[in-house]
């Protein structure tokens, strides 16, 4: 379990902390979506959780051990963390994608190459890849390392629809045994794949289950975010008397299935 205890961070050259003190307990079993308005500090909190920056207040406890207790505990913690930053270029330094993957893993890379469909890219330089391809390579590197805590900052930004789905399915599988936190602006994607939402605001970090999110859509406006289209479409269909008011759906596919049920019932 990862615990944030009264965490806060005051940036250099600033006298103001970014938030009110944040406290949270996180564990494996579900993908956490970290959401919030622009500039609220989502990437910063990820940097704090990753161990890259030290909180100016509070502590981070992993498996009952404060990670900043000593250089040794921090070193140990860092070996457990995989962090896919927004900008992936910092991660690469080999001449080809294949060499990059082989550097990070002594055994076979075949499985992760197949998972992320990297075969066509193996002989290319990581620096010639498109933005989306770089993201897939970064995630592949993380999967080879099998970190206990996987942090992803906008991992699907720049990916087309096919690879967005591929990546999120991989993370859904990975979170069963590992702690996964994704920062995302794609609330539609968070709705479909993330069972636990963390709303970050200057006044705190509020945690909601997906069940609550589906039933309390006013939360989006309250936190200054736009409601995902799936929820807006559901509302319109309920208002038009097409769908029942007690039906809740996490994706367009689930809405379609509900409509198909209505159609088949009528026949």
């Amino acid at each position: 379990m990862l615990e944030l205890k009264e965490i806060n961070y005051t940036p250099p050259k600033s006298s103001q902390p970014l938030w009110s003190n944040l406290s949270l307990q996180l564990q494996a079993g579900k993908i956490y979506a970290l959401v919030g308005i622009n500039g609220v500090g989502k990437t910063t909190i990820l940097n704090v959780i990753s161990g890259l920056i030290k909180p100016t207040q509070g502590e981070i406890v992993w498996q009952q051990q404060p990670i900043h207790q000593s250089a040794a505990t921090l070193r140990q913690y860092l070996t457990q963390v995989g962090y896919c930053l927004q900008s992936t270029d910092h991660l690469f330094f080999k001449q080809t994608v294949q060499e990059e993957l082989e550097y990070h893993h002594n055994g076979s890379i075949a499985e992760v190459v197949q998972q992320l469909q990297l075969e066509p890219l193996l002989t290319m330089s990581p620096f010639e890849l498109s933005g989306g391809q770089k993201k897939r390579l970064a995630l592949a590197i993380m999967l080879l390392k099998q970190p206990q805590i996987l942090l992803c900052d906008e991992i699907t930004a720049g990916l087309d629809a096919h690879f967005q789905q591929l990546v999120m399915n991989i993370l859904q599988n990975y979170c069963r045994q590992h702690l996964v936190i994704v920062v995302t602006h794609n609330l539609e994607e968070a709705l479909q794949y993330c069972d636990q939402w963390l709303f970050l605001t200057p006044t705190g970090l509020k945690e909601y289950s997906i069940t609550t999110i589906l039933r309390q859509t006013e939360l989006f406006q309250h936190w200054g975010l736009r409601m995902p289209p799936t929820l807006a479409i559901r509302q319109s269909l309920v208002a038009a008397g097409v769908l029942p008011a007690d039906g809740y759906y996490r994706s367009n596919e689930e809405i379609a299935a509900a409509l198909a049920k209505i159609k088949n019932k009528d026949q």
Partner: protein
């Protein structure tokens, strides 16, 4: 019929990749047999899967890269005949996805003063043009702020403004909101709508996003290095098969209809992706 603004004929681009320090190289064909045209003041979308060559095509159109074969013609002039070569920058400009790489100065004023003076503009001309574009694009509050204090969307607005200062007839935008959050995306889309309404220029919009594509009249589909199809954007946005075939996201309402049709064996279509049209279609077919 008005003369074409841009013509691309049988364009080919093969990249030469350095393999190692022995200077061995490997060739990789990125674009082949690319043919397209753009009319003056036309908004055209360019879509395609990751790695299909969209950004490379953009770079060829602003002559950051030289084609291996084929012709690029702007306002009836072949690119190679434009002298001096930098005159092309006054006809076509490009804004990249990672706009931080586009800025040299600490703020917009410093940045544009530097590059416009390199074009031979006087201080008075530079001041007049900056005042003009700031007023038109409503960016007066941003032009003296250091770039590092600005959000991604604000920087994107300034990057677009910098290119528009040279009054190009064609603006190429490479996934302008890909790295932006929804709030900044709305900021940039609002600017693009303003440009469409008020500025007399054509735009080639490279995108994966339907919200950006909705601004265009026509869409070119690039796949495996060549234009495989072009169509009216409005047709593309309601054609689930075409969107799927080109790994484009479906508008949510179209995605729901596609799945519904699969589950029920029907072929329900809707007039547009708008939610109210979709709800009406569902009511007519299900209830």
């Amino acid at each position: 019929m008005q003369p074409l603004l841009l013509q691309v004929k049988n364009l080919q681009y093969t990249a030469e990749q350095l393999l190692d320090l022995d200077l061995k190289t490997q060739k990789r064909e990125i674009l082949h047999d690319v043919n397209l045209t753009i009319q003056p003041q036309e908004f055209v979308g360019l879509v395609g899967p990751n790695g299909s060559g969209k950004t490379t095509l953009g770079k060829l159109l602003v002559r950051i890269l030289e084609p291996t074969a084929g012709q690029l013609i702007i306002k009836g002039q072949n690119y190679h005949d434009i002298q001096p070569a930098w005159h092309l920058n006054q006809m076509v400009g490009m804004v990249f996805q990672n706009i931080d790489t586009q800025f040299i100065g600490k703020d917009f004023m410093e940045d544009v003063t530097l590059y416009l003076s390199n074009f031979g503009w006087t201080a008075a001309q530079i001041q007049t043009q900056i005042a003009d574009i700031s007023r038109q694009l409503k960016i007066q509050s941003l032009i003296k702020r250091p770039f590092k204090t600005l959000s991604g969307g604000q920087k994107q607005l300034l990057a677009i403004a910098e290119v528009l200062l040279l009054r190009p007839q064609l603006l190429i935008l490479d996934e302008p909101t890909a790295q932006l959050d929804p709030e900044n995306t709305r900021l940039v889309l609002k600017l693009l709508q303003k440009i469409k309404k008020e500025q007399q220029l054509a735009v080639l919009l490279i995108t994966h996003k339907l919200s950006e594509l909705a601004l265009t009249q026509r869409t070119l589909i690039l796949n495996q290095g060549t234009i495989v199809q072009q169509c009216q954007t409005s047709e593309l946005l309601t054609d689930a098969k075409l969107l799927d075939a080109n790994q484009l996201p479906l508008p949510d309402t179209i995605a729901i209809l596609q799945k519904l049709n699969q589950l029920t064996g029907q072929s329900i279509t809707t007039a547009s992706p708008a939610v109210q049209d979709f709800v009406q279609t569902i009511q007519e077919n299900l209830c």
